[in-house]
């Protein structure tokens, strides 16, 4: 098995004090933040139309009608933006044997006993789960979203199909918001993570602690 499998183009180690590791390229970060902004705007505008108590959120978008108009377009942006992330990251998110072990020791994960966890590559099982859930949910959301996009697609489906789509869309949206909360919380809780997406860099210590195999493969070189 090739050890360099865990390394993505652009990843690099810079010895020093502390050691600095390049984790995300500028392109990947821009791609991520477009996706992130779209997802947040979609959640806000979607929740506004989901629960009457949250209808006030429509004022962020210029009123109810513009919210209704703009939400699906942001969805289109998200879909294509995430597609970019998908093609960047899918390979390193393939499920590996150690991911099962990692998941089984979720208690150690949550109690920060990282020393008891298997050495993982660029992504741990939790990150992979977030990645695949996001991928599947975004497909479900864009598909069901097109069915209920009144302005352009109303004539292509029956009312019953629209009813199913609107329910599926709501449930998928709730799940993706929960996944998003896990994603954001993990980035905040595990200190030193956010710089990976803001500056593109993490410290060597962070890589050693959380993604040791990735770090080792980076150090031992490429094929």
């Amino acid at each position: 098995m090739s050890r360099t499998f865990e390394v993505a183009p652009g990843d690099a180690v810079h010895p020093g004090d502390p050691v600095i590791v390049d984790r995300y390229t500028t392109g990947a970060r821009i791609n991520h933040w477009i996706t992130a902004a779209s997802l947040v705007l979609l959640a806000l505008s979607g929740l506004a139309l989901f629960h009457p108590r949250l209808f006030f959120l429509t004022s962020l978008f210029g009123g109810g009608s513009t919210t209704r108009m703009i939400h699906p377009w942001i969805g289109v942006v998200l879909f294509f933006s995430f597609l970019g992330l998908f093609f960047r990251f899918w390979k390193l998110n393939l499920w590996k044997r150690e991911d099962g072990t990692w998941m089984a020791r979720l208690r150690d994960v949550l109690t920060a006993h990282d020393e008891k966890l298997p050495e993982v590559g660029k992504y741990n099982a939790g990150q992979k789960l977030v990645f695949w859930l996001m991928s599947v949910l975004i497909i479900v959301l864009i598909a069901s979203g097109l069915v209920i996009w009144q302005e352009y697609f109303a004539q292509y489906t029956t009312v019953e199909q629209k009813r199913i789509a609107v329910l599926v869309h709501a449930i998928a949206a709730i799940v993706i918001i929960c996944v998003w909360i896990v994603h954001v919380y993990a980035a905040i809780w595990v200190r030193g993570t956010i710089s990976a997406m803001t500056r593109g860099k993490v410290t060597g210590g962070w890589a050693w602690r959380h993604h040791r195999r990735w770090l080792k493969e980076l150090v031992t070189g490429k094929t």
Binding site: A112, V182, Y185
Partner: protein, 313 residues
């Protein structure tokens, strides 16, 4: 003959119902009007309808609507379906009665049924875009409508239509503006055979009873009133010659009710969904309080340095 409603007087009349008489308002919690006004209803006697479409014309005229010139595809319906401008539509069904061998021409005036439990209102996300008055009229308030099309999904009768021009939902208002000043709906006024009559719901039920008796005496054993209980009854009712088979009348639902999918979407999903989101956020917050941040130690950094130091990079 049902006593006709007198013409209005020339002087201005204060509307008999308004904002203060709401019993339901979409996406809002309101205190329903303490005293309900007498429930009104429109009764459409299919057996008396001659299919002249005067009601359709009267509707366009009173509501200042203009329908596009369509294409004749060899059917009587004109236009082919309800549209944002056509709030009522005559639907024609030719049916060969297997018992009598007669060809029966069943003509149903389609349009909003003004349900007692309106699915459109339940589905609507925009506060005040759909309201129900205590007399039973369900009305769309254009200024509050955002054009999302949720009412279309909520309606068990497939009535609301969204305009491609202003992206607002439209349907029959039961001429709430006319009813407010003591008049009947425009379609009722125009009907030359009194196939459409208007009054209180009780009056209409009594009138329907007479009509049903008459129809039964003429051999329509299954004549009856269509006031479907699945939506709590409606404020537009039909007298049908074959009330046991509403489907015959251009697909009038046998037992309409708000779709269970819509109930699930607007019920459990709404509450469970927000609870789940809240729970995830709360668990995150609590976890952070209990376990603190997961920090990189100096030892981790030293280990990384030792490892990277061996590198040639």
């Amino acid at each position: 003959m049902f006593p006709p409603i007198a013409n209005p007087k020339a002087e201005a009349i204060t509307p008999k119902f308004g904002e203060q008489d709401l019993i339901r308002r979409s996406a809002s919690s309101i205190t329903p009007a303490a005293k309900r006004q007498t429930e009104v209803a429109k009764l459409i006697d299919v057996s008396k309808c001659i299919g002249c479409k005067a009601c359709q014309v009267a509707c366009l005229e009173w509501n200042n609507l203009i329908e596009e010139v369509g294409i004749n595809v060899g059917v009587y319906e004109n236009p082919h379906d309800l549209t944002p401008n056509t709030w009522t539509l005559m639907r024609y069904t030719e049916w060969e009665n297997p018992e009598s061998g007669n060809l029966e021409w069943l003509i149903r005036k389609d349009g909003c049924m003004h349900c007692e439990d309106p699915g459109c209102l339940k589905a609507c996300p925009a506060p005040g875009a759909i309201v129900q008055y205590s007399n039973g009229i369900v009305d769309f308030v254009k200024d509050n409508c955002i054009g999302c099309g949720y009412c279309v999904k909520g309606c068990p009768f497939n009535i609301p239509r969204i305009s491609k021009v202003d992206h607002k939902a439209y349907k029959c208002t039961l001429c709430s503006d006319r009813v407010a000043v003591g008049q009947g709906p425009a379609c009722q006024k125009a009907c030359p055979t009194q196939a459409i009559v208007f009054g209180t719901k009780d009056e209409m039920k009594q009138w329907a009873d007479k009509r049903i008796k008459d129809l039964k005496s003429r051999g329509y054993q299954n004549a009856g009133l269509y006031d479907p209980p699945g939506v709590g009854g409606t404020h537009v009712m039909y007298v049908l010659q074959h009330a046991d088979k509403p489907q015959l009348y251009a697909g009038l639902p046998d037992n309409p009710a708000i779709s269970p999918i819509v109930e699930l979407w607007k019920g459990l999903t709404k509450y469970a969904g927000l609870t789940a989101i809240g729970a995830f956020a709360a668990i995150g917050f609590l976890h952070h309080i209990v376990s603190g941040a997961n920090r990189v130690s100096d030892e981790d950094e030293r280990n990384a340095k030792r490892l990277a130091g061996g590198s040639t990079k």
